[in-house]
């Protein structure tokens, strides 16, 4: 089922919760709306569900404009943040609800409903809980019930609103993988709303990063990590060292971390520089008087994670070789393999690297 969202605007009073949002989803895709709270992602989800309506713009599901279609006629499954299970109904009755409220001529026979509920209980792996009430089961089980209830109506589109937020960390990881597995089996186009980048990275085929009512970038997790279009995305997705810098005569200068010869094509002025820890390589200095001092070493499986002091900043990096010689207090060299520069307006600057040796080693591939 395709979903096409065009130039959606939704205002609450003077605030625009959605400020011209456009997005197109492929059939069967698992997409995530990722952003801090207040970025408009839940509003967008509610509009898709038919629980809220836009002030401008259009939503088409499977090619049909759903502007005037109320929630009950959309056939969109929703898993709510706090599950919203019907507290006075058993789990089986909860799952059967969507089938029982159908008009008589579309309603399956009672025996068929019971069979369908049993199948769904199997699917979400809680067949023994049919007769319990929602407050008699655990958070993870409630989440499975909410999912089964949404799937019962055979939705064309499945919406998940922060579905893992109420689970504790251990259960969350497990349920997350299970949900992704279920999606791969059923192939329903799904939209996940979350503020947790790990969750979005692990689950989604593509992620729409939202900030203040706009989608700032929509792409695969890899593309967001490697090719952030704005400073907001670079800071929000993945770990990054943020440094202040300045472009003078087209050359990048950073006080704390002198890197060699990076040409910036934009205008001169202050810039923000992002360096992923994996792109900041720390190695013992052959001259025994390197430019940075190791502050902290965290041993990990392959390459140690290192915190180094560069001028006034503490930067995260990795030590791919000679890990044993990298100890707190040792002077080292760093090589920046890759960096991203954003102008004052948050937009990305085009870079050009002219390789030249400096105090700090430098690499290419910018």
């Amino acid at each position: 089922m395709t979903v096409e969202i065009e130039k959606l605007v939704r205002r609450f009073g003077h605030n625009a919760a959605l400020d011209g949002v456009s997005l197109a989803l492929h059939p069967g895709e698992f997409a995530a709306l990722l952003g801090p709270s207040g970025s408009g992602k839940t509003t967008l989800l509610r509009i898709l569900a038919g629980l809220d309506f836009p002030d401008a713009g259009s939503v088409r599901i499977a090619g049909t404009d759903v502007a005037g279609v109320p929630a009950r006629l959309r056939g969109v499954g929703v898993v709510f943040q706090h599950y919203a299970l019907f507290r006075h109904m058993t789990i089986a009755e909860n799952i059967a609800f969507g089938l029982r409220v159908r008009p008589r001529r579309l309603r399956p026979a009672a025996a068929d409903i019971a069979r369908r509920v049993a199948t769904l209980l199997e699917l979400v792996q809680i067949p023994d809980l049919a007769g319990r009430y929602p407050d008699q089961v655990s958070g993870g089980q409630r989440q499975r019930v909410a999912l089964a209830r949404a799937l019962a109506i055979e939705p064309s589109l499945l919406l998940l609103d922060e579905p893992f937020g109420a689970l504790d960390a251990l259960v969350r990881k497990e349920v997350r993988r299970w949900v992704r597995g279920l999606h791969d089996r059923l192939g329903i186009t799904s939209v996940l709303v979350t503020h947790d980048q790990d969750e979005a990275m692990e689950l989604a085929d593509r992620i729409a990063v939202m900030d203040r009512g706009r989608i700032v970038q929509f792409g695969t997790p890899r593309a967001l990590l490697d090719d952030p279009q704005t400073a907001f995305v670079a800071g929000f997705i993945g770990e990054a060292n943020r440094l202040r810098g300045e472009v003078r005569d087209g050359w990048l200068e950073m006080r704390d971390l002198p890197v060699p010869m990076v040409r910036v094509k934009g205008r001169d002025g202050p810039v923000e520089v992002f360096i992923r820890p994996a792109d900041l390589l720390v190695a013992p200095s052959p001259r025994r008087h390197g430019c940075v001092e190791v502050a902290l070493v965290r041993p990990e499986t392959e390459s140690a994670r290192v915190v180094v002091r560069c001028g006034a900043s503490l930067l995260d990096g990795v030590a791919p070789t000679q890990v044993g010689r990298i100890l707190p207090g040792v002077l080292c060299d760093v090589t920046v393999r890759r960096l991203t520069v954003f102008g004052e307006d948050g937009a990305r600057e085009d870079l050009h690297l002219v390789d030249a040796p400096g105090c700090v080693g430098a690499g290419a591939s910018i």
Partner: protein, 277 residues
């Protein structure tokens, strides 16, 4: 309760005793006195007073007024609570204040307002009379006054509960294909049914016992527009103490039965919740 927040034993016992003594003095003593007065000359005179045709008429009228007013207030209370808890609209605060108005206005004033509106010299009285509608000094007036005075009970019981429950379940029901009525009957109403019953019972107790507003619009026509509280007053003013206290005891009994039913419901609800936890 944790040990830290627990008062020392003597203080606790003293507090409980004080509370119990106050409750007994204020509530139980008068109730006992009413019963004692009613039965002062034995069961026979009391029964005669209650089975007097005027008394029977008063009992019947009281039950009839409650039977009309309580369903009206149940429906109105549910509608108001639904609007306040589940919808956003301008003037919500005003509506909440309006609902509480009967609690803060003297019942006599509300009765007088109806006389002013529908009485023989009132704004609409003559016109209605021309078409054969009697409101003041008749059943419609009694029902109107009772509805006004007892309106807040159902709404006030439901609003906090419905606000606490939020809208998520209703929204979930809508996404699953349920229409407005289905959502109301299958989700909203079952979620508040115990509170609704409690509110209805309280409303009923007040409706049967209402004196002030009803007194103004009734006209005190014996056997016709006298409700039980008014009948008690008339009997008392005519020095028919046994009769007055007998009818009063019956009225009190109706109230006590209502309260007992409410307490029973609350106990059952608590147990049901306990089972689920």
């Amino acid at each position: 309760m944790s040990a830290a927040t627990q008062d020392p034993a003597p203080a606790r016992i003293a507090l409980v005793l004080l509370g119990a003594a106050l409750a007994a003095a204020i509530f139980l003593l008068p109730l006992a006195a009413v019963l004692a007065e009613a039965l002062r000359r034995g069961w026979e005179p009391a029964w005669t007073a209650i089975s007097d045709p005027d008394s029977i008429a008063a009992i019947r009228l009281t039950l009839l007024v409650a039977a009309i007013a309580v369903p009206i207030n149940a429906a109105g209370g549910i509608a108001a609570a639904w609007a306040i808890a589940k919808c956003d609209f301008a003037g919500k605060r005003v509506l909440i204040t309006l609902i509480e108005l009967p609690f803060s206005v003297s019942p006599v004033i509300s009765g007088l307002v109806y006389v002013l509106l529908f009485g023989a010299q009132g704004y609409f009285g003559p016109a209605l009379r021309a078409y054969g509608f009697e409101i003041i000094f008749a059943l419609p007036g009694l029902v109107l006054a009772t509805v006004f005075v007892t309106f807040p009970f159902v709404a006030r019981t439901l609003i906090p509960l419905m606000q606490e429950q939020g809208r998520e379940e209703e929204e979930a029901a809508a996404t699953l294909g349920a229409g407005g009525w289905q959502i109301f009957l299958r989700v909203t109403l079952p979620n508040v049914k115990w509170a609704l019953l409690a509110g209805v019972l309280l409303c009923n107790a007040r409706a049967m016992g209402e004196f002030g507003a009803v007194s103004v619009v009734s006209g005190h026509i014996r056997g016709q527009t006298n409700t039980m509280p008014l009948h008690v007053e008339i009997l008392y003013n005519e020095y028919m103490f046994v009769g007055a206290f007998a009818v009063a005891a019956l009225l009190a009994l109706l109230g006590v039965v209502t309260l007992a039913a409410k307490t029973l419901l609350e106990t059952l609800t608590a147990r049901r919740i306990g089972e689920h936890a």
